[in-house]
């Protein structure tokens, strides 16, 4: 069976700097995969290369068995969507929730838009009374729900999540993470999550790849987060740094 996302020997350069160096990742259908690393490790750049926001890359990217380049924009959009980090920046400030959610449908010539917008709002846990609100009239959590709803409007199979909760408060983060878990189960989605927060990976993902300076240094199951069984020295370092006081306090108590 072809993978939901198959990246082979991907390299990206910005000017003279190699940001991503020879990275290969294979994400199976229905899987939830995390790319972790610190800023500048190239994790976001990989997602950007997949969606076509980085024009200059080498290697091969296949989505659901078809080469990225063979898919037109429309076909790709129906298959793969991205959710960005900051819901304060990723929504158009002068478009209502309704306009934001119905735009993808209009572009793709899909009818019955009213009903679909309302249904999607319910599905992501937004009361339909917010339909004609502007982003500034919504809270951070509500905005991220709108961003997720927008990504799901075309019923894609692959969702790329770039730090979807790091701009949110912890209690709101919990709500959005629960939502992502539920949506994945309901819709059979495949996730590729980019984050620096390992506990989020532990909750949301099956497998993770650790990036360091543009290279994939380790790939392992999330079980490694339970016992810290990482092989690569850098992965161990990242794990140790992420072991917050919380876990230590809990261990002690």
């Amino acid at each position: 069976m072809s993978a939901a996302l198959d990246i082979r020997s991907l390299s990206v350069r910005y000017g003279r700097t190699d940001v991503v160096r020879d990275v290969s990742i294979r994400v199976a259908r229905g899987e939830s995969y995390a790319l972790v690393g610190e800023s500048g490790s190239g994790k976001s750049t990989i997602l950007r290369a997949v969606v076509g926001m980085v024009p200059d890359w080498r290697g091969e990217i296949e989505v659901d068995g078809a080469p990225r380049s063979a898919l037109g924009q429309g076909a790709f959009a129906q298959h793969c969507q991205m959710v960005f980090q900051d819901p304060y920046a990723s929504l158009h400030p002068r478009r209502t929730v309704d306009a934001t959610l119905s735009e993808p449908l209009r572009i793709h010539g899909i009818g019955n838009r009213d009903a679909q917008v309302i249904e999607m709002m319910r599905s992501v846990g937004l009361d339909p009374r917010y339909r004609f609100r502007f982003p500034h009239q919504l809270s951070g959590g509500q905005r991220q729900r709108v961003a997720i709803a927008r990504a799901l409007m075309l019923d894609p199979k692959l969702l790329l999540l770039d730090e979807p909760t790091s701009a949110l408060d912890v209690s709101v983060q919990a709500e959005i993470l629960n939502l992502l878990v539920r949506l994945r189960a309901e819709r059979g989605l495949t996730y590729v999550l980019v984050t620096h927060a390992l506990p989020v990976v532990s909750f949301l993902c099956d497998r993770l790849g650790v990036l360091h300076k543009g290279q994939l240094v380790e790939e392992t199951g999330v079980a490694a987060l339970h016992d810290g069984a990482f092989r690569a020295p850098y992965a161990r370092e990242l794990y140790q740094a992420s072991l917050g006081a919380g876990d230590r306090v809990r261990d002690a108590g």
Partner: protein
């Protein structure tokens, strides 16, 4: 322990469409030469509390307080001019993001030197030496080079170290750190906080660490105040975090995913009382 800072019944309000809205509602605490953490989510009033102490809030914000006493003097009674002598020199503040809080068109060295010169009259050569020494203290290994750099040429972690150097060079008695590491990578966060901890211990200062991250605050402070909707809902000894009683604190602790997560669903707060998210 003698109280260095005493805050009694702080209230901060902003004008709203239906009259003034109180966003800090009666916060009181005393601070000695110790480390106090203030935790809460966005909108809990934790940052406003920090800013009120330095009298940094401007109209339309209205700050009312029964007592705000620092080292025996009433801060509310000081003129702006007198207040400027307290700010920086005696109580200083590290802000969240070094990219926004450093002046982009002045070199790192000059900014730190300015912080020193404003508060002390010392010869220029001595200033340079002090700046170099301070940068070394915050573990910048090649201070000569870094002093000549502009803020955009340094990384986030280094920028925050520069901020800390700038805030500590006048040797204040209290450092207020408002989310000092939330703009930084996990691997750098610990370094910056360890540095703050060390500097505080070395100079015998008081620290107010403001953050949304309960675990982090518990790790670096002696005492933690948990704020929700403008009020302190619970005060805890940092080591006794797991003994938190208040439902809000419990909910805050439980809603964080853990490294060895096995829960299918994270508990979320009941927001039926508020507007919901």
């Amino acid at each position: 322990m003698t109280a260095l800072l005493e805050l009694d019944n702080l209230r901060v309000s902003f004008p709203g469409p239906r009259g003034r809205v109180e966003v800090v509602r009666g916060v009181s605490f005393t601070l000695g030469r110790e480390r106090l953490g203030i935790v809460g989510e966005s909108g809990s009033g934790k940052s406003l509390t920090g800013r009120s102490i330095l009298r940094l809030l401007r109209p339309p914000a209205r700050v009312e307080v029964d007592a705000l006493r620092f080292d025996g003097q009433d801060l509310m009674a000081l003129s702006d001019r007198q207040m400027r002598r307290v700010r920086g020199a005696r109580i200083s503040m590290v802000m969240q993001d070094p990219r926004y809080s450093l002046n982009p068109v002045i070199t790192v060295g000059d900014q730190i030197a300015e912080a020193l010169r404003v508060h002390e009259r010392i010869p220029r050569r001595a200033v340079q030496a002090r700046v170099r020494e301070m940068l070394e203290k915050v573990r910048i290994h090649d201070p000569e080079r870094v002093m000549r750099l502009y803020p955009h040429e340094v990384s986030g972690g280094m920028g925050q170290r520069v901020m800390i150097a700038m805030m500590l060079i006048p040797q204040p008695d209290i450092l207020i750190a408002d989310e000092p590491t939330s703009a930084l990578d996990v691997s750098v966060q610990a370094q910056v906080l360890d540095l703050i901890e060390e500097m505080i211990a070395e100079n015998g200062m008081g620290l107010i660490l403001i953050s949304h991250d309960l675990d982090l605050v518990a790790r670096y402070c002696d005492r933690v105040l948990v704020m929700n909707q403008g009020e302190v809902v619970e005060e805890l000894q940092a080591g006794a975090l797991h003994a938190a009683r208040h439902p809000y604190t419990r909910a805050l602790l439980d809603s964080v995913p853990r490294m060895d997560e096995t829960r299918e669903v994270l508990p979320v707060m009941d927001r039926s009382a508020g507007a919901g998210t």
